[in-house]
């Protein structure tokens, strides 16, 4: 425990800016993965344990597109679109068959695909770790804001995640499609009776969730090493986020992810040997005080 370092940081604007942006970066990437997870759970009532694989595929698709075209924008598009298509196929062909099944069966199918997807990546790209590399446009000196260090690439990353959060939030609450999705989550039988294709909605939601995780993977690819199985650790943290924020809540995922990011960022200064533990401790505190999570709703 190094509380002096933490106190020193909190009283220094430079440290405060650096650590806060560091927390936002960690949180925003986590949010993109966790929001897909929570969306799928909210509508489909399925805990998608294979969600981390979409993060992995997003990173690999982006790397492949970047190597092929040299375009960062196309790399991001490939990461997001590729995983959306993969998500749609995965949901229609496999997951749709186990919606009514026991949760253990759903878990088994998801876990099987975690292993299968890892092996697919291993076969296509090899078992060794890869690096996409930072696009030259972002190979610039970091910005210095109030003495704190902020890399431009991370500003882009935070911006993209924020846009995704806003579009998703407004889309679900204001647009017609959003209303249909919410209705399907609440009462799929009634939605189906009204002549709306619920299968299409489910597939679309799964694709959207996969796309968001894929986008997170694509955004992370320039700064993280790519390996088969890389989605696993992200998945665990995403589960913590959804548990803290409340399963099914998009705002909860955003707040949960940001809190977790800040805990890690400032925790590494004050509690260097207990940073991981702090996340779990916070989750336990939330669960004890509000078992449905910060923004979760009680079951009717």
């Amino acid at each position: 425990m190094d509380l002096d370092a933490l106190a020193g940081c909190l009283s220094s604007s430079a440290c405060l800016v650096t650590q806060t942006t560091s927390g936002l970066i960690i949180g925003m990437l986590l949010f993109l993965v966790a929001v897909g997870l929570t969306l799928i759970f909210g509508v489909l009532k399925v805990v998608n344990f294979s969600h981390g694989a979409f993060y992995m595929f997003g990173a690999y698709f982006a790397m492949a597109a970047y190597q092929l075209t040299g375009s960062f924008a196309l790399a991001m598009l490939a990461g997001a679109a590729g995983t959306a298509i993969l998500g749609l196929i995965f949901e229609r062909v496999f997951m749709s068959r186990v919606y009514g099944a026991d949760v253990l069966m759903q878990l088994l199918v998801c876990y099987a695909f975690v292993l299968i997807f890892d092996d697919v990546v291993r076969i296509i790209w090899g078992p060794e770790f890869k690096s996409m590399g930072m696009p030259s446009a972002f190979q610039v000196m970091p910005l210095f804001i109030a003495g704190g260090v902020v890399p431009p690439y991370y500003l882009l990353l935070i911006g993209v995640a924020l846009v995704a959060a806003v579009v998703l939030g407004f889309g679900l609450s204001r647009s017609r499609i959003g209303k249909v999705i919410r209705a399907a989550a609440h009462n799929p039988g009634m939605v189906s009776a009204l002549g709306i294709n619920t299968g299409l909605i489910y597939g679309g939601v799964f694709a959207l969730g996969g796309m968001l995780a894929g986008l997170a993977g694509a955004l992370a690819a320039p700064v993280r090493s790519l390996t088969p199985g890389m989605g696993f650790s992200v998945l665990i943290e995403s589960f913590i986020v959804t548990v803290i924020g409340g399963m099914g809540s998009i705002l909860g995922a955003l707040i949960g992810a940001l809190l977790l990011g800040l805990i890690r960022s400032f925790g590494s200064l004050g509690f260097p040997l207990f940073t991981e533990g702090l996340m779990y401790l916070f989750m336990v505190i939330v669960l004890v005080s509000k078992p449905t999570g910060l923004f979760g709703k009680e079951a009717a």
């Binding site: 650096t18 770790f129 190979q139 970091p142 260090v149 890399p151 320039p222 090493s225």
Partner: protein, 419 residues
């Protein structure tokens, strides 16, 4: 009149069963004694995040075995390698090693496991008495600790303590020249990371007593995000950073530190940087990272080493790793020992291996030795240098001095109660 039989099996049946049993158990040994080929078992990591190291170990062994077989084999017996995946799990490594000997009939073992698995395989070797050469574990205690010593096990691997002595001495010289007094460390949070960092700082402070460690970071193994670690280091404002992160963890950390322009703000000493697995993967490798040599074909600067690196690349379309040269050296030792013993018998080979010196492309002076008293490899090329972003990656390596290594290693062993 009826004959009654006592319960149980008859004497005749018992004899037949015992005979059959004896034949069953004796047959493999009898067959083995007459076999022209000799099976060598190799548990190693062929799946998971460090599969590349296990694969490169297998590749290097196969490269050398082909040469040995072409030259007539091990004392006239062709080598047949039986390589199995341990998945990097110690209990699986032990199970595989036992199975290789008991079921597959392997007469020798090459243990291609990381440290955790090696100690498990070591116990199998102790139990079965089979000749075992550890080819990947750098944990010094595996051979330095007399409790671990068994007559049939050897280690053909660089050692953490050797690297730390050379690294500490190299870093101290630069530290004094550039006035680097405030240091930070960032190493993976498990036995290797903790031990290696502890030993490095021990010798750094020994050679440069005014050095102070002002910040320590211990990211967990395979951590995907190092942002908070990088910013923590930046906040501490050290003049130099030591890290023994490796593989994908090291490249991730470099990529993430790069965009904070961290490498321009401090001297970085990363012992595991100069390995092709990391050098070729990092797209924006900063200039001037100090690193220990793992495997690079330009150190030692000999035609033999360069030729070996090129031959490996020609065959497998990638450069060898640190684990590759160690595994290749183990096969070279076996071949030379078999020549001297004129036998492929494990016990005879073990006798010859003690203190054996062989010509080797990876030797500091063109030779390496299997030290007799602790059954470990010495005399290999060891040094530190600075990286550049393209081949040869580490143009100049300052070689470590084995005389100093031996002296300090002896002191270290004494301090640990090993001697």
């Amino acid at each position: 009149m009826t004959r009654t039989r006592t319960p149980g099996i008859s004497r005749r049946s018992a004899l037949a069963l015992m005979g059959a049993g004896a034949m069953t158990f004796a047959a493999p040994w009898a067959a083995r004694a007459q076999a022209k080929t000799i099976k060598i078992g190799m548990p190693t990591i062929l799946s998971g995040r460090v599969a590349q190291l296990g694969t490169s170990s297998r590749n290097a062994v196969m490269l050398e075995v082909e040469k040995v077989n072409a030259a007539g084999g091990l004392a006239g017996r062709q080598i047949e390698m039986v390589v199995r995946d341990s998945k990097g799990q110690p209990q699986e490594a032990a199970r595989v090693a036992r199975e290789l000997v008991n079921t597959d009939g392997c007469e020798l073992l090459l243990d291609g496991e990381a440290s955790s698995g090696s100690f498990a395989v070591h116990e199998v070797a102790r139990d079965l008495g089979v000749l075992c050469i550890h080819t990947c574990s750098e944990a010094s205690s595996l051979t330095a600790d007399p409790k671990q010593h068994i007559p049939n096990a050897f280690r053909c691997v660089r050692q953490g303590i050797h690297d730390s002595i050379v690294g500490g001495s190299y870093a101290a010289a630069i530290s004094k020249a550039k006035g680097l007094k405030k240091w930070a460390t960032c190493s993976p949070d498990y036995a290797y990371g903790r031990d290696t960092t502890g030993e490095f700082t021990l010798y750094l402070k020994r050679f440069a007593p005014d050095v102070e460690i002002i910040s320590e970071s211990w990211p967990k193994l395979f951590q995907p995000d190092y942002t908070e670690v990088v910013t923590k280091i930046l906040q501490a404002k050290p003049q130099a950073l030591y890290s023994c992160l490796w593989g994908g963890d090291l490249t991730s950390c470099i990529d993430q530190a790069n965009i904070y322009a961290m490498f321009g703000q401090m001297e970085v000493f990363a012992v595991n940087m100069a390995d092709y697995t990391a050098l070729t993967v990092v797209k924006n490798l900063p200039k001037g990272i100090h690193s220990g040599n793992r495997y690079i074909k330009t150190f030692p600067t000999t035609p033999e080493n360069a030729a070996w690196g090129d031959a490996y690349k020609a065959k497998y379309n990638e450069y060898p790793t640190n684990w590759s040269w160690q595994n290749a050296t183990a096969v070279m030792f076996l071949a030379e020992a078999a020549k001297k013993a004129n036998s492929a018998d494990g016990k005879k080979l073990a006798e010859v291996l003690k203190g054996l010196t062989i010509k080797c492309p990876f030797g500091a002076d063109g030779t390496v030795t299997m030290r007799g008293d602790d059954h470990t490899l010495v005399g290999y090329a060891i040094g530190w240098g600075t990286t550049i972003p393209q081949e040869p990656y580490v143009p100049e390596v300052k070689a470590g001095d084995w005389k100093t290594i031996f002296e300090l290693e002896a002191e270290w062993k004494k301090s640990k109660g090993y001697t």
